[in-house]
Symmetry: D3
Subunit: 256 residues, 6 copies
């Protein structure tokens, strides 16, 4: 059920019977020469809406802009500062509890949001307001991702390329996949910017000239579909697991 | 041009030639028994995208959740607290200036956001970072709105109803328009809650049992189209005016 | 009863019997060539003290400096930034509840404070600490204001001029009333700075060279007295209404 | 010159020629059974206005409510939390610099404000915006205070009593001076609440049943006048000294 | 008992039986040509550990960096801004209450921390979370300090010198004691920087060229030992007194 | 060179010649039944002091308390909330730049601090104030760690055990190593608490009954020495690399 499409009287039953919400979050940031800046929020929204359709759980509108200062040197990257992002997500999540929501899945598709969503989740849980978990699709199906691609790349690589090929083919510049590979780097390790155990870079541009990593030429819409289906299955199961827990069991454990 | 659909290399020319961005903002909140909770952000996005298409100016993704605590008693209303909303919008607006944007139109469709967007606009201008203006479609065409409807209603009334009938007819419960009118109130004045010059209410529910005001039975998709076209014309002209100003002329004037 | 004049043992009875406080708030900012910078706080204090005298309700000292950055280009305007003003008023209002105050009238005479006092009022009410309403004298008697003056002007116009002529005639430069009118503008509408529905100005100086609007030559002390008496009546009635409510009835309504 | 009484055009010359402002700050808090709650802000305002009159320096309106949580157990005490007070004073002080003020005397009459005004002063100075000093009348004339009274008392004692007897005799309950003495304590030392070098109290009520210290029966209006004149002389000299400094000499010294 | 040396199972008994913790706090800042920058945190830690050893009360690790912007012009001074210091100490203190601690002694050896620790103590007490007192060794034995030294000096003077001579003789440059005295000033009073009752200085360097005050040539390790023993006795007694109070008796008193 | 041991005149040369500082940071938190709560800050301090000794670079005092709410259910764990920790470290780091430091190595030994130190590093770099990198010893020598132990464990496991055996053998409860292993879990993966790609735990106690992971019986002081030497070599090289960079090269790259 997609919250924004419903009139308020039609939501009452849901809130009376269920207490779980899917909140999609992404970013608007460069994804190389071949992918749209909306890549992350498009993916997050697709997963959240798909699983809401499958299961009947409530899906909220998407938070489209996230923590992406590390991509700012590339045209069009938008971002909010980290403390602001945390407070925004915390506020909207806590306010959902007013309607009885007490468990939330942050359906996230941007690596730069992860730690912040975890920090927000801690605040909500430690306050006893809600139990929120962060979920990223590729973390849910690591083996499949490894099987399908030679060189994954954490940003703008073949897995994100395949996903957008499947979800929004019209937004992929197929003719630039070679450029994407050539102008980028295979992996962070390949850059030599992890020195003596320390990450000595802060921005994507410190590592890659065109903003991406991995071998994008490996990507196809079919692989994207495979990934989408497999990860949707995982998200569906996560929702069911979460919905079945007692709320007390989700709260912080007592002192030893 | 819609930022989220573009790959970064395709945005360079825009930022070199133009310095204006349209940022749509709305809310996700109850709009009565007949309209979807997404009403405000759907309208904001429609205007911003329409005028971006007409003019070529850049449109960013939409901020879907705004300052709506006054609607929280109705199922599904989402909101962020006012200080958090201000900081979120300020952060994303200021960060746009990194790419050379120095003038922004907040294409807003939620009355509850207005004062906060003005406060953000002041911060940006006083800091010399950007000149942002807040725009709401119905403020741009007050006479037409008055002509088309007997009883406007500031929230969930005939003007918003007509707009969604035009933009997303599948989301309007046509069979509930009478209920909407009967279960609500004609206007704030009619509630008697402005006492001796003081607004003695804070929440929508203080005034109206079903969350809306006005006479919705007056609304049609045709009127919605009229409104949309007329207000889009105004927004287009606003953008052109703004784009044509010297940046210095937009900054605060000197001390007398 | 004026709090600051009393010794603490003489206040006990009040707090045991009543739970309402009048808190005057204004600004210190330019009011044109003819009026003192203290205009707003002088007016606010006068109303609050008058009605405290009439009714016996408690009046606190005045908050003399408010949110006036939009007047800063004129010599002497003082202001605090909006977030700071909100926190200051919230803190002093919430702390009043320690003595049992649970309803507050913000007797305000500065338009620039209105939205901030409403925001503070929401914080106090949503927290269940107190119910505060914002009151401005001219909002309480709109018809009389319209009747008395041809061209009101929202700032430094004839209504404020008449009020200070009545309350503090020694502070009005009567010989500058013509200048005030000539050097200013009749109204915001007359400036052309509301463009296509958007307010494209932020500061008073964007609209008016001498800081004021309206036709001040219309003002007299007699009219000021009429305004003062009529608005005091309204404030008195507001206090009585507010004092007679059950506190629970003032708190936020339950979820539908 | 009192800022709030002036129209803006009459302030221009001052700001062009001078760069000093006197800002009176006090509190609204219990001062025992015999003195009004406004004692501190009345005293602060009296000194600031007196010296502004004598010297021509600019005096702003008074900040009437300060940091007084330690007096809250006594009826009527108002306060703002310390961080809020600091930000409020910092904001109004910094904003004064917009008109060219670069040196400020905080004419303070409440001990509980001292450290906060010093902290604000540091912020202003370290930022290079202004040089502000905190001044309290009794710190300026310690010997005279010692000479005139047997048992000073830091709060609501004979020195404050004498001052209000002189400035506002109608607000002093002369018939309660004995009670004030009997119901209070001679000094903090006498309470035994400084233990092993540690102040083990936080609130006035931890030390004194009626909120005051010292021997109030010693106080007379004549002594008040003596104190007022002597301390005004000191404040006048402080202003002259401060006005005569080069601004650069007031800024932080360079690194060694 | 020193918390950091213990494994968690060995702490259970303490928290079950006791509710007091000693928290040492100091600074890292210049202490003249003869003393180490760590002087304050070394002294604080020594006292807290000594008394923890004597009494069995729990001592936590030391907060080594405090509020020292006023010493920054001298090489090596470290500091955190005052609001940050308060929040850091408040957070660690409040979190101690999770284990049942409800009374804390801030064993402090830096004058610049005092007011901030008091402010933190108020926050903790007013929230009902814990009762914290601030303790500085020299405040506990003022007579002995006066007896032992001619010219104390509040910073880097003979009392701190003697203390480090006793605790860490290897860190004292004995050959620079004369320089310390010659290059500094005897006292703040001697600088003339308290003008007409106002402290017209903010930084140490405003008063003293080498950063210190007093006559250091008076100091010996033997005197240091005397001071240390005497002050430790006081701290021990303070702990015993505090441990023996009912928690309710430590909380804020009721309204009169 | 250890800053806290030096008198200020002896630091001048360093700051004139060098611009790098080592800042050790750890935590005070449970490390299982066998290790002291200070484990992390003891390790961090040991590395920072060792490399400062080897290279002559400046080492500051240690930040002993970090972000450890996830260990709070075990007796004695201390922590500060994440936003407070970030601000504290940011403040002390930025203030170091006053003396000319423009590159900082956060010598960190607590995994829970990593993301926060990275966020602080970004703030400092994006502001152009300093370039700070986060370094953790085990990240610097992953292969050696893997070689030496069968089952590493991320917290309280054999690598930390070996380190404390080497650095502070008196603080290790050798007789509890078996218990540590038996009462804990081998790894996070073994707990089953990563579900469908989502970490569904927040606290250590969600995963492990005694607070630790891994096989501690593998640990010896000799292995600790090996680890310490190897990681110190890495840290030394990191410092040399960092010291040799041009400051401009460390700042954010320009927009593409």
């Amino acid at each position: 059920m997609y919250l924004a499409d419903e009139a308020w009287p039609d939501l009452e039953t849901y809130f009376e019977e269920e207490s779980l919400a899917l909140v999609p979050l992404g970013s608007t940031e460069q994804h190389g020469p071949h992918l749209p800046e909306g890549t992350d929020h498009l993916i997050a929204e697709a997963f959240a809406r798909e699983v809401a359709d499958r299961t009947g759980y409530l899906c909220t509108p998407t938070v489209n802009i996230g923590v992406s200062p590390h991509h700012r040197q590339f045209w069009g990257t938008m971002w909010v500062d980290a403390p602001v992002f945390r407070d925004y997500v915390e506020s909207l999540a806590r306010n959902l509890t007013y309607h009885g929501i007490d468990r939330i899945v942050f359906v996230n598709a941007h690596g730069g949001n992860v730690q912040h969503l975890r920090e927000v989740g801690r605040r909500l849980r430690d306050a006893g307001d809600a139990y929120a978990v962060e979920w990223m699709w590729d973390d849910a199906i690591p083996d499949l991702v490894d099987d399908l691609f030679e060189q994954n790349g954490p940003h703008g690589g073949p897995k994100e390329t395949a996903m957008i090929q499947y979800l929004h083919e019209e937004l992929v510049h197929e003719d630039r996949l070679d450029d994407a590979k050539e102008g980028g780097v295979p992996s962070v390790a390949a850059t030599g910017n992890v020195r003596h155990g320390s990450r000595t870079f802060y921005d994507a541009i410190d590592n890659t000239d065109n903003g991406v990593l991995g071998d994008q030429t490996d990507a196809t819409a079919e692989k994207g579909e495979q990934l989408f289906d497999a990860a949707s299955d995982q998200l569906e199961q996560l929702c069911e697991w979460l919905a079945n827990q007692e709320f007390e069991a989700l709260l912080p454990k007592e002192h030893v």
